[in-house]
């Protein structure tokens, strides 16, 4: 093939232009650490990376929600543990005072102890965790149990949170069911009745309250079992969210990020190619590299 001077010059120019473009790409990848910076770099990897990023964000939110829900459930469990302790002491008190060996004064003294225990249970039933009253259901902005009458103003429902896409779990337990507001045995009313019976120095009435105290304790313990399950559930969802987050981040990195060793190696190679292209061009017969001459 006949070779014109223009062909030789174009060859030199083109080699330098290609080497420069390759060098620019290698520099960009090495300096940013990103193999895919825009969709056209690798459309499929971009889509996978985008979905991984979205999945990671969802996992981060899920983890945060699980942590929040777990803290609420643990707070509720602690409250119920305190209520359970109070009921256990109330039962001991009732068993003791049902005996005919105690005087009226001693029962009056025991009545005030019973009222203290009721107050402990009331405080547990009105437990606030992280700004919410955990036994109020959705009406969790105010104490659900009236301090004087014990009347329940919550909605009796159990609040839920979304701990993963399409997975909603309850947080806490129903205040109405647990403390017997309108259903089951009314825990606060039972303790009030105990105090009243003690005030009245009526061991028979005290004796008669023992089944209600036992039922109350069972309600509380049953709720704690539910809460234990919830806490374990949140533990699992938290661990799952962390796992999804890590895997999504790893997958995204694999799709979008550059292997630093390879990026550096490509950069060195591109720099050498550029040096070679410039070196070859400098040996061309023309001193200038302007084109033409075709």
């Amino acid at each position: 093939m006949r070779v014109s001077d223009g062909m030789v010059q174009d060859l030199g120019q083109r080699a330098i232009a290609n080497a420069r473009a390759r060098n620019a790409t290698a520099t960009s990848i090495a300096s940013s650490g990103m193999r895919v910076q825009k969709p056209s770099d690798d459309p499929v990897a971009f889509a996978i990376g985008r979905r991984d990023t979205a999945r990671e964000q969802v996992a981060v939110a899920s983890a945060r929600t699980s942590e929040y829900a777990m803290s609420v459930s643990i707070g509720a469990d602690q409250a119920l543990a305190e209520a359970g302790d109070a009921l256990a002491r109330a039962r001991e008190l009732a068993v003791q005072m049902a005996s005919g060996t105690y005087t009226a004064n001693e029962r009056t003294f025991a009545a005030s102890a019973a009222r203290e225990l009721r107050l402990e249970v009331l405080n547990a039933a009105n437990r606030e965790v992280d700004g919410t009253y955990v036994f109020g259901g959705y009406r969790d902005g105010a104490p659900p149990f009236d301090a004087t009458t014990g009347a329940y103003s919550g909605d009796g429902l159990v609040k839920q949170v979304e701990v993963a896409p399409f997975l909603r779990l309850p947080v806490s337990v129903s205040g109405a069911t647990t403390f017997g507001a309108g259903t089951g045995t009314d825990v606060l009313a039972t303790l009030e009745a105990l105090a009243t019976a003690l005030d009245a120095n009526d061991p028979t009435a005290v004796q008669a309250l023992l089944p209600d105290i036992d039922t109350s304790a069972q309600q509380i313990n049953g709720a704690r079992v539910d809460l234990g399950g919830q806490i374990r559930g949140f533990d699992v969802t938290l661990a799952t969210a962390e796992l999804v987050k890590d895997r999504s981040a790893a997958s995204r990195a694999q799709q979008l990020e550059a292997d630093p060793y390879r990026a550096y190696s490509d950069l060195v190679e591109a720099e050498r190619a550029l040096q070679a292209a410039v070196g070859v061009a400098s040996r061309l017969p023309f001193p200038g590299l302007v084109g033409g001459g075709r």
């Binding site: 014109s4 174009d10 200038g288 075709r294």
Partner: protein, 458 residues
Amino acid sequence: MSLLNVGANGMSAGTFGANVASQGASNVATEGYTRRIATLAPVGPPPAGGNGARAVSSQRVIDTFVEKRVLGVRASAGEAAARAQALTTVDEIFGNSGLGVQLDEFQAAIAEMSTRPGEFAPRVAVLSTADALARAFNEASRRVTEARSDVNGKLIDEVGTINERLTQIAQLGTEISKAEIDGREASDLRDRRDQYVRDVSSQISITTIARDDGQLTVLLGGRTELVSRDGRTNLLSASPDPATGDVRVTAIQAGVSVDVTSYAAGGTVAGLVAARDGALTTARTRLDQLAFDVANAYNAVQSTGFDLDAGTGNDLFDVPATATGAAELISLSASVAGQPRRLAAAQDATALPGDNRNALALQALASSTTASGGTRTASDAFADVGTEIGTLVRTALRDRDYTDDAKVQIENLRSSISGVSLDEEMLNMTRYQRAYQGSLEVVRVADEMLSTLLALRR
């Protein structure tokens, strides 16, 4: 005396040849210069042994078949390069920052609000991320619109340049015709005209028909005469379509202005139109649909819930009634802007502020197929758009590289035929210099012979 004539003719022919060779050498870097070869011929018939050599002409060395292929390949390369360049900006819109990130942050803020519906901070975060999301749509739409506007502006510029070059082609055709009728050399004029033709072919796909009289007919799409055989030009026009605002290219055909935009199968004009009516339109449509789908999905849930003041019926986004222009016009609804309490997290107005059920419904939208006709989540739909646009851009970039390679190959072929080689020209100069020296020797010998003859008479 005849010997002197032989020498004189030979010297003249040698000078001519050296002149042609030196012209080639000095134009080695001239764009569009076609190498020439000097054609010499013997002078005078025998029996006197002839009358030396004479310069016949300097001929341009071209291959018309290759020249036509150059036009086609340049059109393809021009189309692909223009398309790739026009799509570079739209590719970046869907990069790893911006809209996708805002969508994620908005959904994360709603998730946070669903756990703490009564608190102020998560509500503020939802409003600020919703506003940022709307602005990200606006910005993406603005950049697509800007890219389209750039394309339309470039189309007008391209048509202006094409018309200038067509005018030059027509004028040069007339000059070539006159020069050749007068028997003058027109190689330089032909070189200039060919260069204009090659330049126009990079801008818009043309075909040419060379006429015997030196004129050149230039056709667009094989049917519309842009330069006629008598040297008249039919210039193109570029103006925005009143309905769409998109620039259309028109030409006069049979006295009527005809839209010839689609005739441009190659060249920069075709590339710009393909980018505008292809990927840029796709990007705009997809962005509009995504903005429309996202806004309506969240509005539908937000408007049915109750805010902290038991109010209801407020949208989260203001968006047009149809998808057209939704990405450009979407904004945080005026009914909630700056009023975090207006976010409807509750489904029960009597369970405020703790009721998070409507917030959960809002949160669920992140995982629900609310986009692309109810088939994709918003995040997936965004990834789909990015993939679609990315693939179009990647295809354009590959086309550019392939056609550029093809262009280099055909231009190398052309250069191997018509390009100047300094080595050759130097050899030619030496050859003609020798021929000149030989002729000079003839003159010297003739002179000696004459001197001898004159001495005999003395």
